[in-house]
Symmetry: C2
């Protein structure tokens, strides 16, 4: 039997895991620095928690878990022979695998609301599962890295989340553009030109300016049913240029009649000013074409693009005002961001940005040149490890060539050699695998060599 | 709708996660120190990989995932109406959730054998799922923490694994007994008294010595069909006492005629001598009643018991000679250990052994006493975070009482206060929440206070 794994899933080898851990550790470190607390939720949720939360398409993409025991009992012949696989799934299955971290988080907040202190800042780094058609860069099991705060509508959190994005990518050494938009501005625009229901069409069309030009955008707007006077009023928005502050001034003029729209402008101004004053390493720009999760977000919308690699957004998020309402706890405002670990992995690989430490592996390998020699090495090994220096010994007195090829495959920086001569004198020969240099020394200087570096 | 989670699963709150992370980080740290590399495998495996690997009972306990799309097509009316839920499950489902980390690891080794360098030392810390009846301390989703090395039969690895167990529990501050046995000794005993097929009955009976006494054990052996002369020959083994070395001498006498048995004695002697010479913090004892995974292990068997808490084994493992054979790669010897995170959690909780750092939370909370004041604090916050000091600000200028109760709930050690007076002077008042002491200082000394500790 030749083993395989389900399509759309992956094994992670030591080299891949070392890189992934570098990514997760960096993100987790920033989450903690900003006071976000770690939680985890079960991989499986009741289907009643998940169904209907991701649209009709989402329901189909849920992985459903068959009930244990006799899952077919209680079904009539008619039901069975209907072969209605979607309807029967709800009889066969009560549980499903987590589709994202947001709905389980909402469920968590509602279930634990008595124990939690609000505002509640949490992060969560766990896999999610989607029965999507697998393709390059899209998997059926992948990790999400989310940080959210619920129970406050303070815009300081928007500023904080932008700082977090900036810090994460600064640590990675990836240059990014952080894009900001606001649902209230978009709603205000659509509203102020009398086209409140066309908000998505308008945003999608403006987004194409670079590709199809001004005439193209206007043609598409007309095509979507916007009257000419509405299109005319939109021109300053479509042609929006200048600094963030200049853009906001222009928008404020267009939105003069929309209370909601002006509130969005004010929010953006506060966030942009606040974040800029604190000194970001990356550019932060107002981008009205950002429509990410438009039906879901109610205030700020974030998205992050890598500047030096062609790839989709590598982080994003926004403010939502009624996340927990679906589970019976209305009026809890929240804002959050999510980092796309798989895309960040690709970006760091392409730009060759993994630090040396992200290679994993031990600091030193002891060669095994015989039973007595190995016993001597085991003592040194124990000393190194007691000092927190990762080290190992080759398990058998195999041929030198075999042992050295093991050292090379593991990219071990140092090899320690104790042959019969060294054993007799109680010394160790230390070989620097990069330079090829060899030095013989006593046990104490040997241990110090590693602990004092 | 009142939300709930599937029975046998758990949410982990920030306090629980901080403790769990302390456990995982400690174990992971020791795994790395000894040169074990991190891998991960997908949560779902093909059922063909999992089925038949855990016995008939195990097959029933696998969580099966329903195929996406029309999983009912191609089934005849007869098949459907048979309501044979077990047989139909194999039509409805191709995938299942991982039941342990061992079978996926074997599958991994076989699939990646060309890329791996042997001996291959890997660790894996991931959840597993079992459709067991949930009860106190038994969950349907729980983490396993495994370290194994495959591709070598060197006993240095047995010694190393014992050192790892010793180091992990020393770091936790938990006193344990590390018990060692060897499948070859057990087989040798059964063989040398002419009862090779009664090996399990013999081990189980001897295990009851403390509870039912010598007469009870002998009665049970007779009850299981052992002839009197075989029982007589067993007496020195049942009454085995003394140091590890004395016990081995006694066993060697009984096993004089069994080559395999004597090999087991020699292996135990080498492992016990080697590990003891390196200086363990915990007791290591030969225990012939250890029968853990008897059908599976072929050499050393390990088990760890906490000395100060009544609980089952908290770690265990052993050597197996044909793990990858089921996937077409015979002759690969391996040895490994597994730490039971949930039981260790209970032990550490019961003995109150979590260090302060395992509480999580930020070092300092800035109170929010107004927009200007908050803006000033945001600058200080950014400086602290740039130095790696975790910190946060209360998001609104809420009542002092509310802000302080947030600080107390988060067990924040320091609170920073910038009111209008402080703002005018560009200073901060720092309150030590443990002593209640307050000091007012400039920005630079404030930052230094945290960075220089």
């Amino acid at each position: 039997m030749k083993p395989s794994i389900p399509k759309g899933t992956r094994d992670f080898t030591p080299v891949e895991m070392a890189r992934r851990n570098y990514i997760f550790d960096t993100i987790r470190g920033v989450f903690r620095l900003f006071g976000y607390s770690h939680i985890e939720t079960p991989s499986m949720e009741n289907l009643s928690t998940l169904m209907g939360k991701y649209g009709e398409e989402g329901d189909k993409l849920l992985f459903k878990i068959q009930n244990s025991g006799d899952y077919m009992s209680g079904l009539t012949d008619e039901e069975l022979l209907s072969r209605n696989s979607l309807k029967l799934a709800s009889k066969f299955c009560e549980k499903g695998l987590r589709y994202d971290l947001t709905v389980p988080f909402a469920r968590f907040v509602v279930m634990h609301r008595e124990e939690l202190q609000f505002p509640f800042k949490r992060f969560q780094i766990q896999p999610v599962w989607r029965a999507d058609r697998p393709q390059k860069g899209r998997y059926r099991e992948f990790y999400q890295c989310d940080a959210d705060v619920v129970g406050s509508d303070s815009l300081l959190y928007e500023i904080e989340l932008i700082q977090m994005i900036d810090m994460v990518f600064s640590k990675f050494g990836v240059r990014v553009a952080i894009k900001l938009n606001n649902r209230k501005i978009l709603a205000g625009i659509a509203e102020s030109i009398g086209q409140a229901d066309k908000i998505v069409d308008i945003t999608v069309a403006i987004d194409k300016l670079d590709k199809i030009g001004l005439d193209g955008v206007n043609a598409e707007l007309a095509d979507k049913g916007l009257p000419q006077d509405a299109i005319n009023k939109l021109q300053p928005i479509i042609k929006l240029t200048g600094s963030n502050s200049q853009k906001l001034d222009t928008i404020a003029t267009v939105l003069a009649g929309s209370e909601n729209g002006l509130k969005g402008v004010e929010e953006c101004r506060f966030i942009l000013d606040g974040a800029t004053k604190l000194g970001l390493n990356n550019q932060l720009e107002l981008d009205l074409t950002l429509a990410r999760g438009l039906n879901y977000y109610t205030g700020a919308i974030f998205e992050v693009k890598a500047l030096d690699v062609e790839i989709g957004s590598i982080s994003g998020g926004g403010r939502y005002d009624n996340l927990t309402g679906i589970f019976g706890l209305p009026g809890v405002s929240g804002v959050g961001i999510s980092f796309g670990a798989d895309r960040i992995y690709d970006v760091l690989t392409q730009l060759d940005l993994y630090p040396k430490e992200a290679q994993g592996g031990v600091k030193v390998l002891f060669l095994n040149l015989g039973e007595q020699e190995a016993a001597f090495c085991m003592g040194l090994l124990a000393q190194l490890r007691a000092h927190g220096i990762s080290a190992e010994i080759y398990p058998d007195a195999a041929k030198m060539k075999k042992q050295m090829s093991y050292a090379n495959a593991g990219a071990v920086p140092y090899v320690a050699i104790v042959g019969s001569d060294e054993l007799a004198q109680g010394v160790v020969t230390l070989k620097d695998m990069q330079t090829g240099e060899q030095r013989t020394m006593g046990s104490d200087p040997f241990v110090s060599f590693f602990t004092e570096k």
